[in-house]
C-alpha cells in the first residue's frame, strides 16, 4: 500500500500553485480599489487620512516579525532542534494574535464612529468615502480571515511536531505553512500602503 508515497517537491509545487490562486483572489479587490481610487482621488485622500496609521504601522512590524519567527522555526526543525522550533511556532502564533487584537481595536473605533459596511453614516457620505471604507473592511476582513486560518494551520502543525509527525526528515508541512504565512504577510505589505499611505498623496 504505497499509494501515498512521499513527494516533497510535489507538495511544495502544489502549495505554490495554491498561493497563486490567493494572489488572484486579492487582486480582484485591488482592481476595484484602483478603479475607484482613480475616480474619487479626493474622497480617498480624506478617508485614508481618517485611518489609524500608528496601529497600521505597528501591525506591519508585528506581521513581518512573525514571518521571521516562522522561518526560524523551519531552520530549527531542519537542524533537529525541536524545542526551539516549537518555541518559534508559538511565538508566531502569539504575534498573529497580537495582530488580530490590534485590528479589533482599530475596527471597533471605526465602527463606534458609525463607519462600517451598510451603515447609515456611510450611506450618507460622499460616494468615494463610502467606497473606500467598504473596500477597507472587505479587504482587511478577508486578510484577517487568512490570518485566522494561518493561526489554525500553525497550531495544527505545532501539534504534529510535538507528536513527531513533522520532523527534520519530513518538514514539508511546516515549510508549506511558512509559505502560506509569508503570502499573508506579503498581501499585507500591499494592503497597508494602499489604504493607509498612498491615497493621501492624491489631492486632485
Amino acid at each position: 500500500m504505497s499509494i501515498e508515497h512521499r513527494d516533497d517537491t510535489g507538495a511544495r509545487f502544489g502549495m505554490w500553485l495554491f498561493l497563486y490562486t490567493e494572489v488572484i483572489l486579492f487582486s480582484g479587490l485591488f482592481v476595484l480599489f484602483a478603479m475607484t481610487q482613480a475616480r474619487f482621488p479626493e474622497h480617498f485622500a480624506a478617508a485614508s487620512a481618517g485611518l489609524n496609521t500608528t496601529i497600521g504601522t505597528l501591525n506591519t512590524f508585528v506581521l513581518l516579525t512573525s514571518s521571521l519567527t516562522l522561518s526560524l522555526s523551519v531552520t530549527a526543525l531542519q537542524l533537529n532542534k525541536i524545542r526551539q522550533s516549537l518555541l518559534f511556532c508559538s511565538g508566531t502564533v502569539l504575534l498573529a494574535v497580537i495582530f488580530l487584537v490590534n485590528k479589533y481595536f482599530e475596527w471597533s473605533t471605526e465602527i463606534s464612529h458609525g463607519i462600517y459596511p451598510g451603515s447609515d453614516h456611510l450611506a450618507e457620505s460622499a460616494p468615494g468615502t463610502a467606497a473606500f471604507f467598504n473596500l477597507y473592511f472587505f479587504t482587511t476582513g478577508l486578510h484577517g480571515l487568512h490570518i485566522f486560518i494561518g493561526i489554525v494551520l500553525i497550531l495544527t502543525v505545532t501539534g504534529m511536531i510535538i507528536r513527531g509527525k513533522v520532523s527534520a526528515e519530513c518538514p514539508v508541512l511546516l515549510v508549506n505553512s511558512t509559505l502560506y504565512w509569508h503570502l499573508v504577510d506579503l498581501i499585507w505589505i500591499f494592503v497597508f500602503p494602499l489604504f493607509y499611505l498612498i491615497p493621501r498623496g492624491f489631492h486632485g
Partner: protein
C-alpha cells in the same frame, strides 16, 4: 478472456474499506472519478428537465406552462446547474480523475486527500445551489451570470446560489492544482512530454485555466454576496460604483471557463479519432501547443461579452481582434482531426459517431462565435436566441457530446462490460437530429430578432419556435435511450477484455476494470508513443 473477466471486479472490491464508507472515505482516484460521474449525470438529467420545460413554455407565444417569474427562475437554475454542476466538472472531474493517473502511468494523483475534498466541495456546492431553489425568497432569477445591479437587488435567493458557486469554485481549483502537480511529478519512467496522450495535454491546459481564473470568480461572487448583505454599492452606479466593472470581473473568469468546458472535450475527441481511424494523431505537437495556446489566448478575450455594455470603442476593437486569434488554434485542431481521418481505416463505432458529431457541431458553434466576435454583427445578435443557439452548439454539441463520446469510449474500461451497439447508434442518431433541429431553429429565429430570456414572443416567431420545441423532444428521447442503454450495459453487458477498441494508451493495457493500484506491483515503463498502433489488436467481445 470472457470467463475470467466475469468474476473479476478490480478496484470495486479491492480497497481498505468495504461498503458505503469505502466510497465516502476513499482516496482512490478511480472511485472518486466514479463518484463524480454519478453526481454529474444526475445533475445533467435534472437540468435537462428544466431545459425541456423552457422549450415547452416557448412552444407558443404567451403563457403556456409558466409565467414570467417562473420562467426567469427556470432558465437561471437550468444555466447554473448546467454550467457549474455539469459541464465544468464533467470530463475533467469524472474522466480526468479516473484516467489521468493511468494515462501517465501513475498509481494515483499527487494529493489523493485533496482530491476527495474537492468532491465534497462539489457536493456541498451542489446542495447549496439546489437548496437555493426551495428556500428564501424563491429560486434565483438573475440568469446564471448574476449581473449587477439586478443580482444585488432581487429578493430571490441569490445568496445561497452565489455561495454554492463559490464553493464549487474551490472544488475546481483543487482539481486543477492536483492535476498540474500530478502531470509534472508522477509521470512513469519513459513517459516523456512528447508521449503524453492528447487527453492529458488538454487536461493540463485546462488545469492551468482552473488555477489562474477561478479565484477571480471567487472574489467576484463574494463581492456580490457582501453587496447583498451590506449594500456597499461598489457596483451601484447610483452610488458611485461601476456595474461594468462587475462584468469585467465576472468574465475574466467565465470566459476562460468556456475553455475549461471545451478543452477536455477536444482531448477526448483526440483520443477517439486516432483509435477508430487506426492512424496516429496528425500533428501531435501542433495539437499539444494549440491546447496551451487556446488556454493562453482564451484568457485575454473576456470583454467580447460586453460589446453592448458601453465599453470604449478602442476596447471593443482590441477584444474583437483577440477573439479572432482564438479561432486559429481551434481551427488547427479541427484540421488535424480531419487529417487524421484522411485515408484512415475508419470504424463507425458509437464513440466515433459521437466524436464526429462533436466536430460537426463544434465547427458550427465556432463559426457562429466569429459572427458574435465581430463587434458589428454582435450589436445586432447580442442577447438574441442566436446566442443561446451558439453556446449550446459549443457547450452541448461540443463539450456535452464529447462527454457522451467519453462515456461510450471508456465505460467498458470502467466497468468491464460492453453496452449494446445498435441502441447506442439509434440514440446517437436521435440526439444528432434533435440537437440540430432544436438549436439551428433557435439560431435562425435569433437572427430574425427574437430576444433571449423572455417567456413570451411576437407571433411571427411562432413557426421556428415550434420546430425547436419538437427538436428538443427528439433530443430528449435520444438522451434517455442512450442512458438506458448504457445502464443496461453496466448491469449485464457482455464482458470485455483489456482492450475492446484497440487503443494504444496505457489504460488499455491493464484489466477492465483496473485493479486498485492500476499497474500491479511493478511501475510501468513506457517505450512508445500514445498513438503507435503497430501490433495493437482489439480484443473480441
Amino acid at each position: 478472456m470472457t470467463e475470467t473477466t466475469l468474476n473479476y471486479s478490480g478496484f470495486y472490491t479491492e480497497g481498505p474499506r468495504k461498503g458505503i464508507l469505502g466510497w465516502l472515505l476513499t482516496t482512490d482516484h478511480k472511485r472518486i472519478g466514479i463518484l463524480y460521474l454519478g453526481c454529474i449525470v444526475v445533475m445533467f438529467l435534472i437540468a435537462m428537465v428544466l431545459g425541456l420545460a423552457i422549450r415547452l413554455e416557448l412552444i407558443a407565444p404567451g403563457k403556456t406552462i409558466m409565467g414570467p417569474q417562473a420562467y426567469n427562475a427556470t432558465f437561471t437554475v437550468h444555466g447554473i446547474i448546467m454550467i457549474f454542476l455539469f459541464i465544468i466538472p464533467s470530463i475533467v472531474a469524472a474522466f480526468g480523475n479516473f484516467l489521468l493517473p493511468i494515462h501517465i502511468g501513475a498509481r494515483d494523483v499527487s494529493f489523493p486527500k485533496l482530491n476527495l475534498l474537492s468532491w465534497y466541495c462539489y457536493v456541498a456546492g451542489g446542495l447549496l445551489a439546489i437548496a437555493s431553489i426551495f428556500t428564501g425568497g424563491g429560486a434565483p432569477d438573475t440568469g446564471w451570470t448574476f449581473y449587477v445591479p439586478f443580482s444585488t437587488q432581487t429578493t430571490t435567493n441569490v445568496n445561497l446560489a452565489v455561495l454554492g458557486a463559490f464553493i464549487l469554485g474551490f472544488s475546481s481549483i483543487l482539481t486543477g492544482i492536483n492535476f498540474v502537480t500530478t502531470i509534472h511529478r508522477l509521470r512513469a519512467k519513459g513517459m516523456t512530454w512528447g508521449r503524453l496522450p492528447m487527453f492529458v495535454w488538454t487536461l493540463y491546459a485546462t488545469a492551468w485555466i482552473q488555477i489562474l481564473a477561478t479565484p477571480m470568480l471567487g472574489i467576484t461572487l463574494v463581492l456580490v454576496f457582501l453587496e447583498r448583505i451590506f449594500g456597499a454599492g461598489l457596483f451601484d452606479a447610483a452610488r458611485g460604483g461601476d456595474p461594468i466593472l462587475y462584468q469585467h470581473l465576472f468574465w475574466i473568469y467565465s470566459h476562460p471557463a468556456v475553455y475549461i468546458m471545451i478543452l477536455p472535450g477536444m482531448g477526448v475527441v483526440s483520443e477517439i479519432i486516432p483509435t477508430f481511424a487506426r492512424k496516429p494523431l496528425f500533428g501531435y505537437w501542433a495539437m499539444a501547443i494549440s491546447s496551451l495556446a487556446i488556454a493562453f489566448a482564451g484568457s485575454l478575450v473576456w470583454a467580447h461579452h460586453m460589446y453592448a455594455s458601453g465599453m470604449s470603442d478602442l476596447a471593443v476593437l482590441v477584444f474583437s481582434f483577440l477573439t479572432f486569434i482564438v479561432a486559429i488554434p481551434s481551427a488547427i485542431k479541427v484540421f488535424n482531426w480531419i487529417s487524421t481521418l484522411y485515408k484512415g481505416s475508419i470504424e463507425l463505432a458509437p464513440p466515433m459517431l459521437f466524436a464526429l458529431a462533436f466536430i460537426f457541431q463544434f465547427a458550427i458553434g465556432g463559426l457562429g462565435g466569429l459572427a458574435l466576435g465581430a463587434a458589428a454583427s454582435d450589436v445586432h445578435l447580442h442577447d438574441t436566441s442566436f446566442v443561446v443557439g451558439h453556446f449550446h452548439y459549443t457547450m452541448f454539441g461540443g463539450a456535452g457530446f464529447a462527454f457522451f463520446a467519453a462515456l461510450h469510449f471508456w465505460l467498458p474500461k470502467f466497468t468491464g462490460r460492453m453496452y449494446r451497439h445498435k441502441p447506442a447508434v439509434i440514440a446517437w442518431g436521435l440526439m444528432f437530429v434533435g440537437f440540430n433541429v432544436l438549436y439551428m431553429s433557435m439560431q435562425a429565429v435569433g437572427i430574425q430578432g427574437m430576444p433571449r430570456r423572455y417567456y413570451d414572443y411576437l407571433p411571427e416567431f411562432q413557426a421556428l419556435n415550434l420546430v425547436a420545441t419538437v427538436g428538443s423532444w427528439i433530443l430528449a428521447a435520444g438522451i434517455l435511450l442512450m442512458f438506458y442503454n448504457l445502464w443496461q450495459g453496466i448491469r449485464r453487458g457482455r464482458p470485455v477484455g483489456n482492450n475492446p477498441w484497440g487503443g494504444a494508451t496505457l489504460e488499455w493495457q491493464i484489466p477492465s476494470p483496473p485493479p486498485l493500484e492500476n499497474f500491479g506491483a511493478e511501475d510501468p515503463v513506457v517505450t512508445k508513443g500514445p498513438y503507435d498502433y503497430k501490433g495493437v489488436v482489439a480484443d473480441e467481445y
